[in-house]
């Protein structure tokens, strides 16, 4: 007889009920299956109505983030084996509105991402006759922050975002730092408005869970604290040297 494992899956089907329910699925246990394999088995073999996002299956696209036993993870990179003997509770990412079953509405995150202008800003845009050279050390300054795959696990882990939804949040702030620290970028002052706003870095209370759950070791908490130090020292500089030129 095959080994079995139970999954308790969050179901939200607005056409059936305004309140979510939990549905129990018993599936065959395979040592080499990840949670996403289990969900795909349910969808293919047991219940085709189960709805969730996934794409690359290799920890790159960032679409299969869910809460597994209360912790935000990429389901393509989380093995069933870690949760034996079960049951395993699967829920949509916390702190986001749920559209259906395990699918969340990410529009708030996408709006916030735009606010921090996550692209290289330069005065000389359009001059194609030169290269923007960068040393390995300059690349190393921001590379860690550039690894973000927008999986939003950090938002699901952040209690500040849950309690204060206007907070720009960890990934967007880390991406802002990624461009601020890029030697080719000149847009720091433009991003300052969003970052130093009431809804920016100062709302972060340094819980640190965003960095703990990040599957790419981006360390958004570190990025935010570094910006706080810089923001505070800039404030002092402006206070002591009000006529000094700003970069």
């Amino acid at each position: 007889m095959k080994d079995l494992i139970t999954l308790n899956v969050f179901r939200y089907q607005p056409e059936k009920s305004k309140e979510p329910t939990y549905q129990e699925y018993e599936i065959p246990y395979h040592k080499d299956w990840v949670i996403l394999d289990a969900l795909n088995y349910i969808k293919d073999q047991i219940d085709g109505s189960l709805t969730y996002r996934w794409s690359c299956r290799m920890g790159v696209c960032g679409s299969c983030g869910m809460m597994v036993n209360g912790k935000p993870v990429l389901t393509c990179a989380t093995f069933l084996e870690s949760y034996t003997p079960g049951p395993i509770r699967i829920e949509p990412l916390e702190n986001f509105p749920v559209i259906r079953d395990l699918v969340i509405d990410m529009s708030d995150f996408l709006e916030k991402l735009k606010k921090v202008k996550p692209w290289i800003i330069r005065k000389d845009v359009g001059s194609e006759d030169r290269e923007y050279l960068q040393t390995p050390s300059q690349l190393a300054d921001y590379k860690q922050y550039s690894m973000c795959i927008n999986c939003m696990l950090c938002y699901a882990a952040c209690p500040v975002y849950g309690l204060e939804p206007e907070f720009i949040g960890p990934a967007a702030l880390a991406l802002a730092q990624r461009y601020n620290m890029d030697s080719r970028d000149e847009g720091k002052n433009q991003r300052m408005k969003a970052l130093s706003h009431d809804t920016g870095i100062w709302q972060c209370t340094f819980v640190g869970d965003c960095s703990a759950v990040c599957p790419k070791n981006v360390d958004p908490a570190g990025a935010i604290q570094r910006y706080k130090v810089e923001g505070a020292s800039n404030w002092w500089k402006t206070l002591l040297l009000p006529y000094a030129s700003k970069d």
């Binding site: 916390e94 209690p159 309690l163 640190g208 869970d209």
Partner: protein
Amino acid sequence: MEGLQTYKRKIGIFWWTKRLSHFRFISRELTSIAVAFIAIELLLLSKAIMNGEESYQAFVQSLTHPILIILNLIALGGILYHSITWFNLAPKAMVIKLGENKVPGFLIALGNYLGWIVISAIIVWSLL
């Protein structure tokens, strides 16, 4: 996505009891009460000193009350937890580069601890 019917989950007042990291975070935040307690105690001590020898002796005597000893011990524990967790987090906020290389995080934390010990030693030395 306007017009989309979504389900919004509520966050309960005891959200911080569900995950150990959140519990540790709230514990760290609560230690600020211990910091406030010690600060008020120091202000009262300063006031007692300004009011003369008698007032100072009375204040010191009041500190020997068992309840105040227990409160001060709890405050000491809270402040130690606050300081240690804070110093351990310092490398996250302070990234120092020497030439091409980053200074390792543990050295930054160590610098904070050394500063703490040196300042504490100076205070103890000046009191003795």
